[in-house]
Point group: C3
Chain length 135, copies 3
């Protein structure tokens, strides 16, 4: 186990970039995190398992971020943030998917660094995704 | 890192109050948790980012609690529970938001105490929320 | 605290069985986990709190697994996986519930073993569920 970070994400920051910056500044190479909060807008995505590409879904109104589960690992030598989110509107209705971009209204992140593991991403032929190296 | 608690929540208890009691009894001041289970009913909410108030959404029928992510910190000198939930009905359809109140049918909570951090909430002008004190 | 496992789940494996095998092979008796990824198909369920039975909901198309929260404990002497999932389709719409079965396209699991706790499941009259033994 490594460090534990509790982060109050900056208002108006973009969540993926914000977490990548935190990782770089703290030299975090492997971590897992959960977050809750609210986003002003977002771009989420669905991965087409046959065509091997992401289909983007714009979220243009404010939503509660009711769940954000993700991890940090190294891809192409840099910290890579992988996160999935569930977003709810004022009726409690939900849109969810892979998080491409989220403009933060407010967000609380709980991040756990995982020491002693080496975990690089590399291209996987079968899925077309950058998966953790099984080695 | 502090203590780890695995909690079988009491049938018919209200989840937020139940967790606050656990925190007080165990003198937990900062923690993070996840939970799954089922609720008999609930009250969830959406925060209006412009008007700065919560809009409440009543959930009057039994739902699976498919995700509950939250944390404990200190607000006005007492443990404050902040949790977001995703609830699913018998068709697998979902309502989600900030958890105001949840009557527990059954629930399993995994709670991690975070020692050595001081984290009080105070009013934030920009969002109108009680956010973690940045210092 | 026990071991921490970061698992790249095998393509085409069934998630519940895969995690049970990981638990058996590593002699894990209590653990908690979160996962994200994508499923090719799934079977989820809603528990009827009055009739005390599960109503199954088939998910026959590929979905993002936007949230999977679960735990491992011992039931009838063997590792038992309890997991709830939120699944999203290409429009970002969601189905969610208790996970009975999930065929993995890709999935990243973060599992934390909890040492020093004894946690067996036994039948609970009130809910009709196998809950953690209160002692």
């Amino acid at each position: 186990m490594g460090r534990t970070l509790i982060i109050n994400v900056e208002h108006n920051s973009e969540l993926i970039q914000f977490l990548a910056k935190i990782a770089e500044e703290n030299k975090i190479v492997i971590a897992t995190f959960t977050a809750i909060g609210a986003l002003k807008s977002a771009k989420i995505a669905f991965y087409n398992q046959e065509k091997h590409d992401y289909h983007s879904i714009p979220i243009e109104t404010p939503h509660e971020m009711v769940s954000c589960i993700g991890n940090i690992s190294i891809k192409d030598g840099k910290p890579f943030i992988h996160a999935h989110v569930v977003l709810a509107n004022e009726a409690g209705n939900v849109k969810a998917g892979h998080l491409l971009e989220g403009i933060v209204f407010a967000s609380e992140v709980y991040l756990t660094e995982l020491k002693g593991l080496k975990l690089d991403r590399k291209h996987d032929e079968i899925t077309g995704l950058s998966l953790w190296n099984r080695e």
